[in-house]
């Protein structure tokens, strides 16, 4: 309490000067905030534009008529179908071999686990053309694995199988990482309860762990599919033919120039965008 003899005046001045300082501080804070936010907004906006402008320009610059025309071109449609199909096959193989590994990594402890996790992410850092060459060293007809597959009539050089393994190699980390994350989120006690209620390990996996991680696994599959679809470097080393869409874009560009490459590039971008939107929706629902 302020003693009474100072009277109301001194109290008022005291209050107002206090208020002034408080307001000053608030203004200053607001200003620094505006500066801070503003600068970050400009920097962030630049990179955003860098991504949006080329994609948008390409989509809107090409007339629908040309796009539809391109879709009538059997060379283009078959390359697109081949791309989608090969990426799908790679995803199926990735699912069958990757999900069990993801489960083991998420649910068990063993020496060398970190090393394995590192190895899985290796394809993400290897230049993809180098990855293609590395694959040839194993799946080429002169090498052991290649010979083994040759025995059952599967060849990798310039074939669908080659496209699939190239896509598999570069895109499977996405599926494994996403599935692992999904399994990690499953409370181990749910699995324990299921076991005590009479479920075998198999049925616990099928009825509890897998359904609960399903969204993450689905997201991983879509991500893997999309990534496989957009692969160029590794595929072109192993299988220039049959031609997948990214390779076709490259070839059209090399032989006929920009105008001929553009329509098929636009179609590819539209397909990727569609897959991407579906993926985001799925992830959004999972977060909720």
């Amino acid at each position: 309490m302020i003693p009474k003899k100072h009277g109301p005046i001194s109290r008022a001045t005291f209050l107002s000067s206090d208020k002034l300082i408080a307001n000053g501080i608030r203004c200053l804070r607001l200003l620094t905030n505006v500066w801070f936010r503003g600068l970050f907004l400009i920097l962030g906006g630049l990179i955003l534009l860098f991504i949006i402008v080329p994609v948008a320009k390409m989509i809107f610059a090409s007339s629908p008529a040309i796009l539809i025309d391109s879709l009538r071109d059997s060379e283009i449609t078959s390359s697109i179908i081949l791309t989608l199909y090969a990426a799908f096959l790679a995803t199926v193989i990735g699912f069958l071999l990757g999900v069990p590994l993801a489960y083991l990594l998420a649910k068990t402890q063993f020496p060398g686990k970190r090393l394995i996790e590192g190895i899985i992410d290796l394809p993400l850092v290897i230049p993809h053309s180098a990855a293609g060459i590395a694959l040839l060293f194993v799946f080429g007809r002169h090498y052991f694995v290649g010979q083994a597959f040759d025995g059952i009539g599967v060849r990798f050089l310039d074939s669908l199988a080659g496209i699939v393994i190239a896509m598999l190699f570069v895109s499977v980390p996405f599926l494994i990482d996403s599935a692992k994350e999904g399994f990690q989120k499953v409370d181990p006690r749910l699995e324990k309860v299921a076991r005590t209620l009479g479920a075998t390990p198999w049925r616990t996996f099928a009825r509890i762990s897998f359904p609960l991680a399903r969204r993450s696994i689905t997201a991983g599959c879509i991500l893997m599919w999309a990534r496989g679809m957009s692969e160029f470097g590794a595929v072109i080393i192993i299988a220039y033919h049959p031609m997948i869409a990214p390779v076709l874009v490259y070839e059209k560009f090399e032989t006929y120039g920009l105008d001929h490459a553009r329509p098929i590039a636009v179609i590819l971008i539209l397909i990727s965008l569609f897959v991407f939107v579906v993926l985001r929706l799925l992830l959004y629902r999972r977060e909720r």
Partner: protein, 350 residues
């Protein structure tokens, strides 16, 4: 019924050391101990979720030590209930019956029975996430009991509930146990919960079973400092016992010495429960044995009761009701007398 012999489980930094425990048929046994004492490991070992390094677990005389969990007929209910979030209440409860491939008729009978027992018919189509804590608890219990387990394991079933629901479920558990007569092993860190529910209590600490007995035993006759402290026996004295004849002994602890019933065996520790210590004003000194005068050094308020530390100069703690506290106008620094019966002292060897 449950017979555990020298169970030794190593789990990361934690070890359960040669734990032995017997639970009788139809008994409600509460395993109580501080966090990290190994209670959950013990429970999960019985359920078969950990395999022990050594030791033996028998259920109904059958050695199940190496049996997988799905073949033990032991149900477990966890603190956070662990309901399957992707299944509705009905499918949660039916899960065990479906896994055990029980025929349709038997299945629906067992299902109806637990649904009636817990009065949860109105919840059947709900998602577990939309249930209150108490409702989740009921569903978890229904799911566990639906398969008619030989043993029910409860891991801190009341810890995550608010006090009111907690009392409700506590009563429910009590009622349930009388109704179904299923052998139950309940673990908790809450001593009061243990006393309220247990036919017998096992105190566990540092990976060992410290003492097993009736609540009264654990309360009055702790066999170690660990148990005495865990049962909040506050007055623990280190000293020695000497025989003075005529049915009484003398316990000497530093400057303090008091009479003890000669029924007590040899020992170097004495405990007196604070509720057995009587607090009287100094001018009304009763002519009894074991009366000491001193100064109040600390008052710990617990709401309806208070712990009063009196320095005589060894500190003796008395439990008083709020009524006494107000009536005697107790405050720190006040001089008072404390007294207790020779029969209230329990002596043990540490």
């Amino acid at each position: 019924m449950i017979s555990i012999r020298n169970l030794y489980v190593e789990l990361g930094d934690f070890t359960l050391k040669d734990a032995s425990l017997d639970v009788k048929d139809g008994e409600y046994m509460v395993v109580v101990g501080p966090s990290g004492a190994g209670k959950t490991v013990l429970l999960e070992s019985i359920a078969g979720l950990y395999s022990p390094e050594r030791g033996e677990i028998r259920l109904r005389g059958r050695d199940v030590t190496r049996l997988s969990p799905e073949r033990r007929h032991v149900s477990i209910v966890y603190q956070d209930h662990a309901l399957f979030p992707h299944l509705c209440v009905r499918d949660n409860i039916l899960f065990g019956l479906r896994m055990r491939k029980i025929d349709e008729k038997e299945c629906s009978e067992a299902f109806s029975r637990v649904v009636e027992l817990f009065s949860i018919r109105s919840l059947l189509d709900r998602d577990p996430q939309t249930l209150s804590g108490g409702e989740q608890q009921k569903v978890a219990l229904a799911r566990a009991l639906c398969v008619s387990p030989d043993v029910l394991l409860l891991d801190e079933p009341l810890s995550s509930l608010d006090p009111k629901t907690r009392e409700e479920i506590e009563a429910e558990l009590h009622h349930l146990h009388r109704e179904l007569d299923v052998t139950t092993l309940h673990v908790t860190h809450n001593f009061e919960e243990a006393v309220a529910l247990g036919d017998r209590i096992a105190v566990i600490g540092e990976g060992e079973v410290k003492q097993v007995g009736t609540p009264e035993d654990i309360f009055r006759k702790p066999n170690s400092e660990f148990v005495a402290e865990f049962a909040m026996s506050r007055n623990l004295f280190i000293g020695e016992l000497s025989n003075t004849g005529i049915g009484q002994c003398d316990f000497q602890s530093g400057d303090l010495h008091f009479s003890v019933d000669s029924g007590n065996g040899p020992g170097n520790r004495a405990v007196i429960r604070p509720e057995d210590v009587m607090l009287v004003s100094r001018d009304a000194i009763p002519s009894r044995t074991n009366t000491f005068t001193g100064e109040i050094v600390r008052i710990a308020d617990r709401g309806s009761t208070l712990y009063i530390d009196v320095s005589v100069p060894s500190v003796i703690t008395a439990l008083v009701t709020r009524h006494t506290y107000r009536e005697m106008e107790l405050k720190t620094g006040m001089r008072v007398s404390v007294c207790f019966d020779a029969s209230s002292v329990h002596v043990f060897q540490e």
